[in-house]
Symmetry: C2
Subunit: 164 residues, 2 copies
DNA sequence: GCCAATTGCTTGAAGTTTAAAGAAATTGCA
DNA sequence: TGCAATTTCTTTAAACTTCAAGCAATTGGC
């Protein structure tokens, strides 16, 4: 171990251990919560997380959304959304309509049933989340929000630089 | 909108909007980084993230690990690990050996090839992660670590209470 | 108007994931 | 010992996911 004059561990120039540990902790935290939400959705409403997420995107708008919009917002592939939508139309939660000005485009909307069911689930979901973060003070939450925003910005900068 | 005497928004008793927003931000952040890591692993090493994760668990120990240990540490189902290990044994990265004292138990280890390939990937991986979090100061990282630990504890408390 | 490039979506193959059921082995306790 | 409960792992079906290839429609030069 390399020690400096104050007998404190000094990092090697290429030691990126703290960032790696941060990433693992972030991932663990998210996986844990995601698993919890997934279990609750299945137990209480017999619905999968991807379906809930998709409906959540659609609930934000009143007049529908294209498949591309959905895949961008959900950060998943286009083909993935095609399948999800297909199954949700099948079950009567969604409604799809081809655009009249561009016949490639499909507008997807929640049906009355879909919106009603989603609203019920969303209300419960919000309570689960509140309980999951229940030990955090308002200040903790504000700080986490701020730092995660910074992390997100950093990650986007990094991704963009790579693809550029 | 309900306003108090200081003309500041007051939260309704059941408003859990801040926790929900925190969760969405946490999820977005993780998904973003995970996608980035996934792309890099595919591009640079033609390997999937689940395989990398599994090898990462095994690299931490010298003498192997059981399937159950793996599934607990990776926080995925047992059957999932069975399939992943199967494919990695097939490709020569892993070695499986039945325990002599308990014939239900399989010890899984990295082969020489597996460990060598993993080490190469891990070194690059650490650099990607460092770059992804590059805009965060050491203090930001410490704070995030602390708050995420608190969030993790809170989520575990919540999950435990539910299953109890 | 023509047509190459782009855009929106679907399809197919391979892989990952879960939940649930089941098989095999071990453990613990009466 | 006997055997019920538990543990470890596998299997199965259905769903989810990505990537890449492909189809159809539109757009943007020319």
């Amino acid at each position: 171990m390399i020690l400096d004059s104050e007998t404190k561990a000094v990092e090697l120039p290429d030691d990126h251990g703290t960032e790696l540990r941060l990433w693992l902790r972030l991932l663990t935290c998210t996986t844990l919560i995601e698993g919890e939400v997934r279990s609750q959705l299945r137990e209480k409403f017999d619905v999968t997380l991807p379906r809930f997420d998709l409906m959540a995107q659609l609930d934000k708008v009143s007049d529908g959304m294209t498949l591309s919009d959905l895949s961008k917002r959900m950060m998943v592939s286009n083909g993935n959304v095609t399948g999800l939508v297909e199954r949700l139309v099948e079950s009567g939660h969604l409604d799809r309509r081809t655009s009249e000005t561009d016949r490639r485009v499909q507008f997807i909307r929640l049906t009355k049933l879909g919106r009603a069911e989603f609203r019920k689930m969303a209300a419960e979901h919000e309570k689960w989340i509140a309980d999951i973060f229940g030990d955090l003070s308002p200040k903790d939450i504000r700080e986490l929000m701020r730092l995660l925003a910074k992390a997100k910005g950093s990650a986007q900068r990094s991704a963009k630089a790579r693809t550029a």
